[in-house]
């Protein structure tokens, strides 16, 4: 039996937006842990606070209150420059709903970009990029420009780019939101494969129970709070999981 090791722990996270004299609570006292090699899914309807949580985890937005621990150590001011960039570069990989690839670059250049920004040596850049492209099945198309690929292929490139620096945590914001159902399955299976092969920890935000079914644990968000949690059993098939998640969703 593998020992459970916490990669990420958040404690008492709050996010308040002030609009005039009014205060809007996007997140209220959120706590949870993400373990090594685990997929945690954050579910909720629009405006429930799930994307805000992801942005705060990625250092893209600042929390009003709360603490974050990476590998058991608290990280302070991780959302302030220049720490934010360092924090993202060392710990976080991002996958967006709209892929956000740079069209000026080829597939392999897009994947290599985080390594270039990290000033890695040419040999490391080449080796890691090619390995990652082989892993996501796009090595043969490495010299194509990103706009020449299908949506699913572009999202694969985005996954490869997010994981090429071996980050502790992969944050995926509605990664299948722009894809058809078949392609969505392919991307989700790719994420599961990455989890297994690389022991990757993943936080995935979605509103789709079928997508959430790929998670090991599911947190249900409502009005900025975690209102429910679902722990998936390894042997339960995806269809069953989906139904149970839907039930939990109705219940919360």
């Amino acid at each position: 039996m593998t020992a459970v090791c916490s990669v990420l722990r958040i404690k008492g996270i709050e996010k308040v937006y002030s609009i005039g004299n009014n205060k809007v609570f996007a997140l209220r006292n959120v706590d949870f842990e993400l373990n090594k090699g685990e997929i945690v899914v954050v579910m909720g309807s629009s405006g429930s606070g799930k994307s805000t949580l992801l942005n705060i985890l990625g250092g893209l937005d600042a929390p009003t209150k709360g603490e974050i621990f990476i590998d058991g150590l608290e990280v302070k001011d991780y959302y302030k420059e220049p720490y934010a960039t360092e924090y993202r570069r060392n710990n976080i990989g991002f996958v967006f709903q709209s892929y956000n690839l740079l069209h000026a670059l080829t597939v392999e250049e897009n994947v290599a970009l985080p390594l270039i920004l990290k000033h890695e040596s040419a040999s490391v850049i080449k080796e890691n990029t090619h390995n990652m492209l082989k892993l996501v099945g796009l090595y043969e198309r490495r010299t194509h420009r990103s706009i020449e690929l299908s949506g699913g292929q572009q999202q694969r490139v985005a996954v490869a780019r997010a994981l090429v620096t071996s980050p502790s945590i992969l944050l995926a914001d509605e990664p299948t939101g722009n894809l058809d159902s078949q392609t969505s399955i392919e991307i989700l299976e790719l994420l599961v494969e990455m989890k297994q092969k690389l022991n990757q920890s993943i936080v995935l935000v979605t509103h789709d129970p079928k997508v959430a079914a790929y998670g090991d644990r599911v947190f249900f968000f409502k009005d900025g709070r975690i209102v429910n949690e679902y722990q998936a059993e390894a042997h339960v098939p995806n269809i069953e999981r989906t139904l149970m998640i839907m039930n939990n969703l109705q219940g919360s």
Binding site: P82, A112, I116
Partner: protein
């Protein structure tokens, strides 16, 4: 595959080639415009200064006594002059020693007209009088005119007769040719010692030429020199009124157009670069999200900006260089003028380029730096905001600039010296334009809403959609329209200035050539033609009237009746004229009674002397040794301008007023009215007269205008080149701006296609938007150019002349070219696959 950060920068440049190219072109046009204007105006100013150099040689100051006073500089005075600070070298001269000598009737007219110089053979003197050899004891150098009148050639011996001395034989060692377009007077230049001996004036000089140190304050030196003796006369050669006026004109035009060039350059760059940085923010945001630091974003932008500015500056320099060379040659051929040499002051040009490049770089970098600093999420959010709200600073700048502009413009009209007034007026105009441009943000939306129904009426539903679609894009609309307006402003202003210079020169010719023929003397003030010469002309068959006018003379006002204002000058300048005849022929208002004691003034001069119609003054003529009581003059009329006279600081008195005339009162010109049917006879008669009086020359209005046209072509070719470049670059700027605009909206066009707009309709949409921008831009540009032209020409103290036909051509050219560019681009974009466009430009 790129594996380095610099490779990444390179890749971005290659991948964004259209955007980069447009930005490079914008920078090139801006640099080209500023360099061309600076270079050409520098050349113009230098060419005017060169004319002074050619005329005066290296001499900067002349100091001496008036020859009529027969005073000479003594050794102490010479030493004191030489001791004055900032004098590099001096030269000793004896000028016209015959003046004041016995002018007996035995002496010939020619002898009396000779301008005599004794020179110490110094470089300064040789340079001033264009002598290329040393003049020995018995030698003389004479002007071409004198050589003709004495019927002699170089190396021949000639007997020269001067008043007050015995005639002597001299060897002609040089003949000074007439400069182009000028006739030199009868001039004889001798060795200083020889001339002194001939006149018995050993060791005596009455004039010194001075070359000052570079950057010396000549005005201060002049004041210092005058303290040596109160009668010393000091002339600063560069400060002749005409040269000063011309240089001031060029400076005013140069500053005005220069400022406009900077404004339009900024607009070109903002408009084109805005698109670049706007698109680029998305890329920066992604890079920041995946681990790029602020400094990496900064470096990436810096690399690209340096590339853009470097390429743009080099291209701009080439553009300015080739435009000037090519256009100079083209205009030289077109106007049949030789020797247009555009000098490139490379040091200065490179300095301008460097300052320009660094300024543009900083200018480009500020918004980019802001983008680099913000959090990735904010960058993406901001990028989604298409519209912007005009902020209070714009309003503040707009109102303040307009108010400052009006104040400066008005003070430019009334307060200070001419030079200061001109610059104040120009600054006023520029501030006002800045006010309009900043304030435009507030009117662009209502203006477009106002034009919407009209546009729908002309172009139908598609045109309506096209305009409706852009109404809310205030920032883009403002920038594109102002960019176009700036181009039109600078082109029309340039053209108006050229037209104004031309028209005011032609008006001067019309003012001077009021009759069919004007007769003058090539001997100028040394002319032998007196009032009686009128009778000789009257005898010519076909001459209806001959009206002689004298050279200007001066007198002192010793008494005033009805006017006692303090500080009014007591010197008065006058010309003798036939007042009753001028009045009878309509050149002056009707004059009643005896004209002998009448005086006619211009409004300006009447104000200066504080005189009104009916006022009486007593004037004593200004003649050495004259002790008479003078004569009483009564102001008979005050007119706008005196006939055939350009100066407004002079008045007319009657030939019958003998009290004011001296023995030196000679004719400057004779206004001749002829019987048109007998023109041939008159010309024949005048030709016969010339055989008898070699100094006589005449011109009609036609000849004067032809001569002026030639002079204008020569003098203002550089201005024409500058304006041609401005028009050319402005038009290209307009075209580039519209191109940028269309490129920036390809995604919108694709969306329009996707929701049912046919390729043909899209074609109409693009053309409609281009036409709308061009028309509003042209409209605003013309208003702005009228204001700035008024400001510039007010400074030049002339009325602006708008060549509306040419302006129409330019405007039609700019709109036509813009549409011509939009046409193929619109066709290409309308034919593109919708999905391809959406994907390739997808955010």
């Amino acid at each position: 595959m790129i594996i380095s950060f610099s490779g990444l920068s390179r890749k971005f440049i290659i991948a964004n080639k259209i955007r980069i190219t447009l930005s490079v072109i914008a920078v090139a046009l801006a640099v080209g415009l500023i360099v061309s204007i600076s270079m050409l105006f520098d050349n113009m100013e230098q060419s005017f200064k060169n004319v002074v150099r050619i005329t005066n040689g290296e001499t900067d100051l002349m100091v001496g006594f008036n020859v009529a006073t027969q005073r000479y500089l003594n050794d102490t005075q010479i030493k004191e002059i030489q001791k004055v600070n900032n004098i590099e070298k001096t030269s000793m001269l004896l000028i016209n020693p015959q003046i004041g000598m016995d002018q007996s009737t035995k002496t010939s007219s020619l002898a009396k007209s000779i301008y005599t110089i004794g020179t110490d053979n110094s470089i300064l003197a040789k340079d001033r009088y264009k002598i290329d050899k040393r003049i020995g004891q018995d030698e003389v150098v004479i002007s071409h005119t004198l050589a003709e009148n004495l019927n002699t050639k170089e190396f021949e011996e000639v007997k020269i007769d001067l008043p007050g001395v015995k005639p002597r034989v001299w060897k002609v060692v040089g003949i000074i040719p007439n400069p182009k377009g000028m006739v030199l007077p009868n001039m004889a230049i001798f060795n200083l010692n020889s001339l002194q001996k001939w006149f018995g004036l050993e060791n005596k000089i009455n004039l010194m030429l001075i070359k000052t140190m570079p950057n010396a304050n000549q005005k201060n030196m002049s004041l210092n020199l005058k303290t040596i003796d109160k009668d010393l006369r000091v002339d600063i050669l560069e400060e002749s009124e005409e040269v000063q006026k011309n240089i001031l004109q060029i400076e005013v035009i140069g500053y005005g157009l220069g400022f406009l060039a900077v404004i339009i350059s900024v607009l070109f760059i903002i408009t084109n670069f805005r698109l670049f940085i706007y698109e680029y923010q998305r890329e920066l945001a992604i890079m920041r999200a995946i681990g790029g630091t602020v400094s990496q974003s900064f470096r990436l932008i810096l690399t690209q900006n340096i590339f853009i500015v470097l390429c743009g500056t080099i291209l701009g320099l080439c553009l300015a260089f080739s435009c000037s060379i090519l256009l100079s040659n083209f205009l030289a051929v077109l106007f049949k003028i030789s020797n247009i040499e555009v000098q490139f002051n490379w040091g200065r040009i490179l300095l301008i380029c460097c300052i320009g490049a660094v300024s543009i770089l900083l200018f480009l970098h500020l918004p980019a730096l802001k983008s680099a600093k913000i959090l990735p999420l904010q960058a993406i959010r901001e990028n989604e905001q298409i519209d912007f709200q005009p902020n209070s600073m714009h309003k503040w700048v707009s109102v303040t600039s307009a108010i400052i502009g009006i104040i400066l413009f008005l003070s430019g009209r009334f307060i200070g010296e001419a030079g200061i007034r001109a610059l104040t007026a120009v600054s006023g105009g520029i501030f006002f334009i800045i006010g309009i441009f900043f304030g435009f943000t507030y009117i662009v939306k209502p203006l477009m809403i106002f034009l919407l129904p009209l546009w729908e009426l002309i172009g139908g539903r598609v045109a309506f959609v096209a305009v409706k679609n852009i109404i809310n894009q205030t920032r883009q609309n403002t920038l594109v329209i102002l960019s176009l307006a700036g181009a039109v402003t600078i082109a029309v202003t340039g053209l108006t200035i050229l037209e104004t210079v031309k028209t005011s020169s032609i008006n001067n010719v019309y003012k001077e050539y009021v009759s069919d023929i004007i007769l003058t003397s090539s001997y100028h003030t040394a002319s032998n033609l007196k009032y009686d010469f009128k009778k000789t002309i009257d005898e010519i068959d076909g001459v209806k009237e001959a009206l002689p006018m004298s050279w200007g003379d001066t007198g002192k006002i010793t008494f005033r009746k009805n006017s006692n204002k303090a500080g009014v000058p007591d010197r008065i300048g006058y010309i003798f004229a036939d007042l009753s005849a001028l009045s009878r022929l309509g050149f002056l208002p009707p004059l009643e009674g005896e004209t002998r004691n009448m005086i006619i003034l211009t409004k300006e001069y009447a104000e200066t002397l504080d005189l009104n119609v009916g006022d009486e003054i007593k004037v004593v003529r200004n003649e050495f040794g004259y002790n008479g009581e003078g004569t009483t003059l009564k102001v008979a009329a005050i007119v706008d301008a005196l006939p055939a006279t350009l100066s407004s600081k002079i008045c007319l008195v009657d030939w019958d007023n003998k009290d004011l005339q001296t023995k030196y009162t000679v004719l400057e010109k004779v206004i001749i009215e002829i019987d048109k049917s007998k023109e041939v006879e008159v010309i024949k008669g005048l030709n016969e007269l010339k055989a008898q009086y070699p100094e006589v020359q005449w011109k009609g209005l036609k000849e004067a205008l032809e001569e002026l046209t030639q002079l204008l072509k020569q003098r203002y070719t550089l201005l024409s080149i500058a304006i041609a470049i401005i028009v050319l670059i402005s038009t290209f700027g307009t075209v580039t701006t519209l191109n940028s605009y269309i490129q920036a909206h390809r995604r919108e066009y694709a969306i329009l296609r996707a929701i049912g707009v046919t390729p043909r309709q899209l074609f109409v949409v693009i053309l409609t938007q281009s036409a709308l921008y061009s028309i509003i831009g042209v409209f605003i540009g013309i208003i702005a150019s009228v204001i700035i032209s008024y400001a510039i020409v007010t400074g030049l103290e002339v009325k602006p002349a708008f060549n509306w036909l040419m302006i129409l051509y330019i405007v039609a050219g700019i709109i036509g070219l813009s549409l011509m560019l939009a046409l193929p681009l619109a066709r290409r974009i309308s034919k593109k696959s919708v999905t391809e466009e959406l994907i390739s430009i997808a955010r």
